[in-house]
Symmetry: C2
Subunit: 419 residues, 2 copies
Amino acid sequence: MNLDQSIKNMAKAAKGAAYRLAVVPTAQKDAALQSLAGALLEKKDFLLKENRKDLAAAQEENYSQALVDRLALSEKTIKEMAECLKATASLKDPVGEVMSTVHRPNGLVIKKVRTPFGVIGIIYESRPNVTSDCIGLCLKSGNAVILKGGKEALSSNRAIFKVLQDALKGTAVPPEAIGLIDSVDRRAVNILLEQENLVDLIVPRGGEELIRFVAEHSKIPVIKHYKGICHTYVSEHADLNMAHQICYNAKVQKPGVCNAMETMLVHRQSAGRFLPVMIAEFHKAGVEVRGCPVSQQISKNTIKAATPKDWDTEYLDLILSVKVVDSLKEAIDHINTHGSHHSDAIVTQDALEAEEFLKSVDSACLYVNASTRFTDGYQFGMGAEIGISTDKLHARGPMALEELTTYKYVVYGQGQIRQ
Amino acid sequence: MNLDQSIKNMAKAAKGAAYRLAVVPTAQKDAALQSLAGALLEKKDFLLKENRKDLAAAQEENYSQALVDRLALSEKTIKEMAECLKATASLKDPVGEVMSTVHRPNGLVIKKVRTPFGVIGIIYESRPNVTSDCIGLCLKSGNAVILKGGKEALSSNRAIFKVLQDALKGTAVPPEAIGLIDSVDRRAVNILLEQENLVDLIVPRGGEELIRFVAEHSKIPVIKHYKGICHTYVSEHADLNMAHQICYNAKVQKPGVCNAMETMLVHRQSAGRFLPVMIAEFHKAGVEVRGCPVSQQISKNTIKAATPKDWDTEYLDLILSVKVVDSLKEAIDHINTHGSHHSDAIVTQDALEAEEFLKSVDSACLYVNASTRFTDGYQFGMGAEIGISTDKLHARGPMALEELTTYKYVVYGQGQIRQ
């Protein structure tokens, strides 16, 4: 069978399974997830053996140590994957939740009810735990899922998938509700992205290049985020001690992630007292600071000059751009113009100023007196995360089970007809 | 200035205006809408004069009388446009609504707050009242809007737009928050659909061809519905009197609209008593009925044979396809396979059967014992409608003010940093 046909068949089988899965009660979905968790632990030797094939190939191809680390499974990571499935089982099932009820004068009762999307396609890179984490989240929210992982993790993904699909056979969840595209043919992603009649949603997870490719070629709706150019604005009304801690945390604690700070904006009134100490701390932590002319002057030229490109760059590294601004408005305009609408913070003791910032900055997550690093499904209390969206349609910010559902209107009548 | 640059400039101005509009209080937005309503009434002679240019051109081009009727403005329709703006002013403002609040153990308070999208593009055909109706709905929900109407209504749209933009000058809403692309160059739509950094959402309103063109060429998220192939399933547990009234209403009351019934499914146990009477009623109303072999036999060959294409056709006319099925499951499978996921109904007195239907049919609006004709923002109590979505992302079913908003998370801290 050719690749087109085999992916189409997988999507068709997933669609049929999704219709059956939509009516499986919560307790039976949870029991299935527990079975999956048990199967991972039971088959750990098989998983580790298959994972070693990927690791050997990665070494042969001279992949970076960071990539090899991301690929590697261990008893510990397999246990974590099982724990993640169990934790997902314990989360509240969003399916069937009545979001609103309207009683119309003609007697119709209209309920807005949360329902699964149907079939979700997930396209991802490297980490093999994504395979089981996403299967858990999709099944719990009543969705079938088709996975397309990276070729560097092919053997690991195949093994995890086989263990989980075999384990589904003894449960109320149809095994066809999960699918893995394990072809290394580059056309496979394109073919998946063309199944708009069978697949309801695509979630890409990976680098900006992958996500741009998916967004450009998909005929199916995509929820995504490209990058995180996150700002912290230190106002003239800031508690500067607090500002030091927040800015240090947002830049230094984990610089390689999307919710780390990339640009620090400082009001001119605060800059003289704030910047020299802050920059010294950053330098001590190994952060390269690039500043506007005013900040260079204030820091006595201990920092490099920022170029226009710096304001639009996601460093994902120990690098920071700094700009001194004259007003809240200038800070807001800078963030709306140069930011990526991901996560931005203001440090201020002035509640009115904070509200102005919250209303005017066009980002998924906005913080008053806290670090941007909190943008995360677990930190937000969602208990899980399938990704972060900087789109505005449907899901914005951290995405968990609720964001993997849509809704339908169900209308109860007693013979009503339209006049 | 060339077309590309002028559309881009309009979108840029709209984006800037959207940021300002996002913080305009409800009372000032409502006052602006009242001003717009007043301006339409005051300038009605100008509007009627400009409208006559479109009507004359339509007659010259030998457009159908139906199209000319849709184009025509009158004192009555102008009054209705003004009333629509006033009614929109009186609706609840969705912006700023707190959808949920979470208190985290670390003291962070996380609020999910409804916010405007930013800039909405609306691409539509013929009826000039859409111009003012959409301006009202977008401004009320805090969004800037760029309109692209059909060339057949060019003079009318220009006139309505000019009156409304002039009227905004005396209000708190920036006049640049509304834009009209009045070029007749066919590239104008494509250029608008490429402004993904400035326009946040596209809503096409018109025939299937227009909508497919927009969906195919847009780099901006689109909310749409292509068509309505709506079903009514008469179960073996139906009250057949009720079924007669519901099916008659769904097909005959207004056959040219998307929520009219196109296919009637009847359980074999009900067919003998139900079909002959129902078909006679349909024939009396001038409905052409096309049936499966069993329904032909039951109706003693008074109806034509349906071809496979009939099950996938939106007639928008006094034509109906009829199929006799052996089970609820067969009805559900038929609707999920051949329907357009718009509006489908079951007539049954069996509550468990009704629930199975509601859970298993994958459509935006599902009815128990009521006509599919109720799928409409006003009928659902939303007070307005900008369109109906058969998409699953963001908005499904009738779309009104709430569906023209997104949300953001605002997080209040006291210096929290991530551990």
